[in-house]
């Protein structure tokens, strides 16, 4: 893994001789510029410009889109206008979408974490062939492009899909899950499982056997070992998995597009609708920034937990 701490000078990789960075340091900085620039120009810049556009700045780079789009609010203060934000907040569609998005994100993330934890714990504590089968199964979705996954799940749970076909033979009328939030949850859990399993499983594998055995030697039952030793020590990978999973689901597009209802839908789909079909790019960006804000909140929690755990183990 990459250590974010500075390498100690005894390794000889960095010694700043009083005053200014070493030449090696400058080379490193230069080498790292290309991707940084790409990101700054094509991610940082659009975000900033998009922000200004959402606030009603319609000149310069925003000129073209301001002409193309409809219901554009132009700025009426020096800082812009809240017109577009007002539109969105008062749009009944938006709140329905927001509720659904948060509901699906929380539910799916919880399910993914529980499933990944169960499988990873079983693998760590008992191991063996069945555990390997479970882990391999969980990784399969990684191999499948999202578009295909969405479509495959659609056909599986749809009106004439496998589930309904199968249960009809038992006289049970299994519901058509496509175009419901349940299908979105199924889809997001399906696609998020591999990363969560990889993270949590590698975190648990890194815990030495001796730490588990010494707990048992002290009298700990399996539950205590899991609750007092394994989960606390794997806290960082678990939080990474939770953060990545929830941020990914928050802004997901393909899965809710294929599997969810038309109204309400997840915000990712709505952003695309507003930008394209409804031709209201400004409001689309407003929604995007609201999703950004929520995602940033999650990312901040993640970074803070990283710093906290680094402090606790004496590394900071």
């Amino acid at each position: 893994m990459i250590s974010l701490r500075s390498k100690k000078s005894k390794e000889g990789s960095l010694t700043t001789h009083g005053g200014g960075p070493s030449p090696r340091s400058l080379v490193g900085l230069a080498l790292s510029l290309p991707p940084l620039l790409i990101v700054l120009i094509f991610v940082g810049l659009p975000i900033l410009i998009g922000l200004t556009f959402s606030l009603g700045f319609t000149t310069g780079p925003n000129r073209v889109i301001a002409i193309i789009g409809q219901q554009i609010h132009k700025k009426n203060h020096w800082w812009g206008t809240l017109g577009a934000y007002n539109d969105v907040i008062h749009d009944s569609r938006f709140f329905g979408d927001l509720r659904l998005t948060i509901f699906v994100t929380v539910l799916s993330t919880t399910l993914v974490l529980l499933l990944a934890l169960a499988i990873a714990l079983y693998q760590r504590l008992i191991g063996g062939r069945k555990a390997a089968v479970l882990v391999t199964l969980s990784i399969v979705p990684l191999f499948v492009p999202v578009v295909i996954s969405a479509w495959a799940i659609h056909t599986f749970y749809g009106g004439d899909g496998f589930m309904r076909t199968f249960f009809t033979h038992f006289g049970i009328n299994f519901p058509t899950l496509t175009s419901t939030p349940s299908a979105i949850v199924i889809g997001t859990v399906w696609t998020s499982l591999p990363f969560a399993i990889l993270m949590i499983s590698s975190g648990l594998q890194a815990i030495p056997d001796a730490l588990i055995e010494s707990a048992k030697d002290c009298g700990a039952s399996v539950f205590r070992v899991i609750a007092n030793i394994l989960i606390p020590l794997a806290k960082t990978p678990i939080i990474i998995a939770a953060s990545f999973t929830s941020i990914g689901i928050l802004g997901s597009f393909t899965i809710p597009l294929f599997l969810g209802p038309n109204q309400p839908t997840m915000l990712g789909v709505e952003i695309s609708n507003f930008f394209g079909a409804y031709n209201r790019p400004q409001q689309s960006l407003v929604m995007a920034f609201i999703v950004f804000a929520i995602a940033s909140g999650i990312a901040v929690l993640y970074v803070r937990s990283n710093i906290k755990s680094a402090k606790e183990s004496g590394r900071l």
Partner: protein, 274 residues
Amino acid sequence: MNKALKSLNLSRIGLNLFIGLLAVFILGPLVWLGVHAFASDWQYPNLYPSGLTMRWWSKVFLDSAFATAIKNSLVISPIVVLISMFICLPAAYAAGRMNFFGRKVFMITLFSANSFPKIGLFAAIATLYYALNLMGTFVGVVIIQLLGTIIYMTWIPAAAFAAVPKNLEEAARDAGASKFTVFRTITLRLAMPGILVAIVMSFLASFDEAQGTYLVGAPGIFTMPTEMYSLVQNYPIQVAAVFSILLAIPSVLLLGLARKHIMGGQLAEGFQLK
């Protein structure tokens, strides 16, 4: 003793049931769709098709729109990966083995750029593209896909470079090798598994990229994934099934090859912020 045996049996049954359910949950949709690619006709509520055929395959290969989409994907993705390698690998090396001013900020910036919901980002990028006249262009699509590869092509090789023990390099220098030779024969060789994983993940990130390409590529450029969006609405399920299998082949092949390294921890190791 009997109670223990009984509970052991119950838990074994429970476990097998869980494995079965997980298999159905994960593999079911894929198998169900896969069979459709060869189904001539499949009426509900039959558990299997009325007959098997390959005609949907010829339909896909003979359709020019599909062929164009396939060609686009196979042309654009390798280009994206090459550009990504050129831009990111030196940075990865620097991040992994040099300690330069602002290194932490650099890594976290790249990390956070990728952790934001993509569709919103693409909407913002589309706004910029309108101004730069990049909507619906080849270059525009390449840039969008490139963005998705950066996180893989920096973090994973950086971890791989960082993991090369310095004393191996020192021993080579001591034996008389120049700095470049050391890099070529020692550092690069030892970091190669990580770099390969990064290349595979980047290729797939580009090949499977749908949202951004959809937003900025349409209606001029369709790749295989974005073709799927319209395909599923306008064609029978069997065609979608065939296309899905085709789209999945590179994924399965490449990830299958790199599987040992991914499950061996290169992927998870690369993302541990310790």
